[in-house]
Amino acid sequence: MAVAVYVPLLAALLLGLGAAPLSRLVPPATAARALAASSVLVAAATSFVLGVLAFTLLGKLPPVAALGSWSVASLSAADPVPQLVGGAACAAVLVLGARGLRAAVSRYRALAAVRALCLSLGGEPGQLVVVDDDADDVYVLPGARGRIIASRSLLVALPADERGALLAHEAAHLRHHHHRYRAATEFAAALNPLLRPAVAAVRFATERWADEDAAQATGDRTVVATAIARAGLRRRDTRAITAGWRALVLEAADSAVVARVRALLAPPVRRRPAALLLLGALLVVTVSSAVEAQRDAEDLFEQSRPAVATAPATTAQR
């Protein structure tokens, strides 16, 4: 237990560090799926071992010990977890649990707002809605009734083939439910801040996924690349003029736009089974460590029970 309980935390650190490279090294659809699923699994494992750690401290409180009928003295003697660590784990469970809850609630509210907006817009799911706006912008409102939203100025400015590429990109977001991968990873990162880099990595992977989907739909990766580059430059130009509300949006230090254009102008990314195997191994170790930690904790509490407490079980067996 002294070791196993910390392994998932180390795994979260490694996944956080490896998320960005992985999102660029393997095909984007694979990267998005693998990263979102791993983040959720690792977050679950770390939450679980934090819970186990916290309970080793809570178990030493007399009322809890009385309830479980184990001895505080023998538990304290056998427990390999320092009290400081137990205390930190208790605090972490409270804080991270609250963060997770808040993330889930705000996501639910946002999706409800988007749904209401989609309903009020009328029309069919997946249909384009043109916003009468001079500020270049295009995005999707996610969900089953999702819509593609594009400003008139951007649609008018792009040549036909690039306009088609842009629409295909947005349709891919809706069709593959990309918001779910993002939401899952954000929830995981709320439960474990070490996973924060995975949020940006999954975001990037879903954008690349939609880019490659659009390339397949239009049959031309270069057209998608030029559409992104042109729209990106135009959006910057208009942003300088009509700052206003848009100025509030956070400026990203390293934009993913350039990376996406480069990726489309380069040959498609090869499959890399080795990278995925490595990730798989990390997950197996994480989950088995969490299970191991739980077993060890159970043994610890069992051993701290006086013999009398286990006596009835033995009689019952006979």
Binding site: A110, L111, A113, V114, L117, S120, L121, G123, G126, Q127, L128, V129, V130, V131, D132, D133, D134, A135, D137, V138, Y139, V140, L141, P142, I148, S151, R152, L155, V156, A160, R163, G164, L167, R175, H178, H179, E207, A210, A217, T222, A225, T226, I228, A229, R230, A231, L233, R235, R236, R239, W245, V249, E251, A252, D254, S255, V257, V258, V261, L265
Partner: protein, 122 residues
């Protein structure tokens, strides 16, 4: 088989969206829409797509001699003010919307211009 049908339906949706996007430039006859889409599509395909959009209420049309002039209906276009108000009401914009574009950093602009030239040169 079912997969194939799924693709066909998706293509139809994509086509409708491309026609709607073309109509963003203003009212047009089917011939003008076709020119706007790069003339790759058959005239009849454009005609039927426009007729379907009209049936769905996404486009309105007015008789113009022997043909119709189509334009975006209220259901397919929305005022910028309405959209902003709706989005600003209780929405973490960055969290939910899958944007096509991130904000560009100052260093990105020359790089992007160069890549665009390079791509067009192909």
């Amino acid at each position: 088989m079912s997969k194939k049908r799924g693709t066909a339906r998706r293509d139809r949706g994509a086509l409708e969206n491309e026609v709607l996007a073309a109509l963003a430039s203003g009212p047009m006859t089917p011939r003008e829409v076709r020119r706007h889409l790069g003339e790759e599509l058959a005239y009849t395909t454009v005609m039927t797509t426009l007729a379907r959009l009209h049936e769905k209420g996404a486009a309105t049309r007015e008789s113009a001699g022997r043909t119709f002039t189509y334009q975006l209906a209220d259901g397919a276009s929305v005022q910028a003010r309405t959209m902003r108000r709706a989005l600003d009401a209780g929405l973490d914009r960055e969290q939910v919307l899958a944007r096509f574009l991130d904000e560009l950093g100052p260093d990105d602009v020359p790089v992007l211009r160069r890549l665009l030239r390079q791509a067009k040169g192909r």
